[in-house]
């Protein structure tokens, strides 16, 4: 059974993208090695430098003293290296006025349930769509599929009103519920396509043995689902972690607002506080970068599947 590794429903070029990130794929491509001209190499290096320098400049700045950042360019650092961790100390503080520590915690508190809740619900729904016969199945599936493309802007205002009426305005619940609802269509779609590729014989054999849907769901589906869960989980984690719009709409209160909103606010009110902005930006960047580097393979897969999400 462990030899069965169903794929998320992908186009040929998407499949190739996955193959390319695997070790065997890379070995195969090295056969194609071409002679590259010096001009081509120069252009490639130039592009890479242009793409990296802005981030590098802010990174260097985040380690410079406030006064140095505000009076001289970051490139002068290499002639006159003054280093400090004060910016990070200020920014990570959970007590000081300009500290972002609490918002860093909020980002985690917001993100973790917003990933787990849709996964739980979508796993059930996807199984129903993939393997159970019932009236109206195709209609409901098309509906859920179509909802993927609804820009979440159309849902925000009425949702805000509903939350206030329900008495949960300004709490974490508003953000968790919103992100979960917005993520469900994509989650169901990804998991459904994945489950659909599990061989029919496997399910039928289990049913002949007298196993019900509940048992099949737990015994056969869940263990096989890991790659799909990882692909969706990482996509959703980064989506929620990096989100600004939902946070701006619902997380008005300081006690619930995430890092992205705190940074956007800081940039708006103290746009020249570069010692805080630089360190703050890197605190927020470090999490997705670690996720990206450690789980690159699933990351690309999730990104491809989620390209149309609202």
């Amino acid at each position: 059974m462990s030899s069965i590794t169903p794929q998320v429903d992908l186009t040929p070029e998407q499949r190739a993208a996955l193959a390319e990130t695997s070790p065997t794929g890379r070995a195969a491509t090295s056969i194609k090695k071409k002679v590259t001209s010096p001009v081509a190499s120069a252009v490639a290096v130039l592009l890479a430098v242009v793409w990296t320098i802005p981030t590098f400049g802010l990174l260097v700045s985040s380690f410079r003293p406030e006064k140095a950042i505000k009076t001289t360019g970051w490139w002068t650092f290499f002639g006159d290296p003054q280093m400090t961790l004060d910016n990070y100390r200020t920014v990570l503080s959970t007590t000081s006025q300009s500290g972002l520590g609490n918002f860093f915690v909020n980002s985690f508190v917001i993100t973790i349930p917003s990933v787990i809740i849709p996964i739980c619900l979508a796993a059930l729904a996807a199984y129903a769509f993939a393997w159970i016969d019932f009236k109206g199945r195709d209609f409901l599936f098309v509906l859920v599929f179509a909802l993927q493309i609804v820009p979440l802007q159309v849902a925000l205002l009425p949702l805000l009103t509903m939350y206030v009426h329900a008495g949960i305005g300004g709490t974490f619940w508003t953000i968790w519920l919103s992100h979960s609802a917005f993520a469900l269509p994509l989650a169901i779609f990804i998991l459904h396509n994945f489950m659909k590729e599990i061989p029919k014989e496997l399910i039928e054999a289990a049913r002949v043995d007298g196993a019900g849907h509940v048992k099949i769901f737990f015994r056969i589906m869940l263990p096989l689902l890991t790659p799909a869960l990882a692909a969706f989980g990482i996509f959703q984690f980064l989506w929620v972690w990096n989100d600004l719009l939902v946070a701006l709409t619902f997380a008005s209160d300081n006690s619930v607002k995430p890092l992205t909103k705190a940074l956007a606010d800081l940039s708006g009110t103290r746009g020249t506080a570069w010692h805080l902005l630089s360190a703050g930006a890197f605190i927020s960047i470090i999490v997705p970068v670690v996720v990206f580097i450690s789980l690159q393979r699933y990351f690309v897969r999730g990104l491809l599947a989620g390209g149309l999400k609202g």
Binding site: E20, W74, L157, M162, F172, L184, H213, L244, A264
Partner: protein, 321 residues
């Protein structure tokens, strides 16, 4: 709220939904003997409720509200839509959005494709690609802060030194520093650069994979025919990866249409840089103009649909190959 309370609430929320799933499984297990199709409805129940209440109903409600006035009380017909297409402010918003959607996908795709070809098979390819791809992983807020620092302006006075890289380069070249994100109309292009910076990695990843998927024998045959590098690109590479190029263009186009974070963080929509998604936010939540805000949200939806339909049809076409 202190940290332990937050974590506890978080745990509670997760447990609640795990319990919901448990309950559904329990009910399903009980009813399964009688009818297998009931299990289907039971499994779907929580998702359908969430999607209906959290997405479907609000979307219908917003569409409805877009025909009402600012307070959401009086029916005004198509007035809000008329405002969008006639008021000078909103016409500027539309113009900017068109600029974003036309420029970003093409430039980002061109750069992504160029880079994919240049590093294809080169030593350190994986690392070179990661450099371009990383902006895709970080938040647009962080990306905007990174670029705002590049564009930072200090007045051109003796004794004052530039701290923004772009202005320093201009000064080194003998020019005078500019307020890149203030001076209209070029400031919109400087914001678009940020989106291109973010999206080029996406284009590069997909197109690089498509290039690697081109069958070896086609390349070999072309080489034997003595096709040069440019001809190879024109007659072999480009036709082979055409479906991927279209998918990339449309996907970036959809993302750009809804661009909000970059404009909001860099200019707040000031200095004539406003776009539809930001104007939606301002009208809905700052100006309390519920009607106009709703109309802008509906407009976004209407604009997205044709691109998505085209995208899906392209995906289908490339699948059936």
């Amino acid at each position: 709220m202190d940290i332990s309370t937050k974590l506890l609430t978080m745990l509670l929320a997760i447990l609640l939904f795990v319990a919901v799933v448990g309950l559904m499984l329990f009910i399903a297990g009980r009813t399964e003997r009688r009818s297998a199709s009931i299990v289907g409805y039971v499994f779907l129940f929580p998702s359908i409720i969430m999607v209906s209440v959290g997405l479907l109903y609000p979307a219908v409600r917003t569409t409805f509200q877009s025909f009402f006035d600012a307070a959401g009380k009086a029916f005004v017909g198509l007035d809000n839509y008329q405002t969008i297409f006639t008021s000078p402010d909103d016409l500027l918003v539309l113009r900017n959005t068109v600029l974003w959607v036309v420029v970003t996908p093409f430039v980002a795709t061109a750069i992504g494709l160029l880079y994919a070809i240049l590093v294809d098979g080169a030593r350190g390819e994986a690392f070179a690609k990661a450099l371009i791809f990383l902006p895709m992983a970080i938040s647009m807020v962080a990306a905007s802060i990174i670029w705002k620092f590049v564009y930072e302006f200090r007045p051109d006075q003796p004794g004052v030194r530039q701290i923004g890289l772009l202005n320093q380069v201009v000064v080194w070249l003998g020019g005078s520093p500019q307020q890149w994100i203030v001076n209209s109309p070029w400031n919109t292009f400087f914001l678009i650069v940020v989106m291109i910076w973010i999206q080029a990695g996406f284009a590069m990843t997909i197109l690089s994979a498509a290039i690697k998927a081109i069958p070896e024998d086609i390349i070999e045959a072309a080489r034997l025919d003595g096709v040069n590098a440019l001809g190879m690109f024109r007659f072999v590479t480009l036709p082979s990866i055409r479906p991927s190029v279209i998918v990339v263009l449309t996907t970036i186009g959809i993302g750009t249409l809804k661009v909000f974070d970059v404009v909001r963080t860099m200019t707040g929509g000031n200095f004539s840089t406003n776009v539809v998604a930001n104007e939606f936010y301002s009208q809905s939540f700052r100006a309390s103009n519920e009607g106009l805000g709703s109309a802008l949200a509906v407009l976004l939806f209407i604009l997205v649909v044709p691109i998505v339909v085209y995208n899906i049809r392209q995906l289908r076409a490339s699948e059936s190959r």
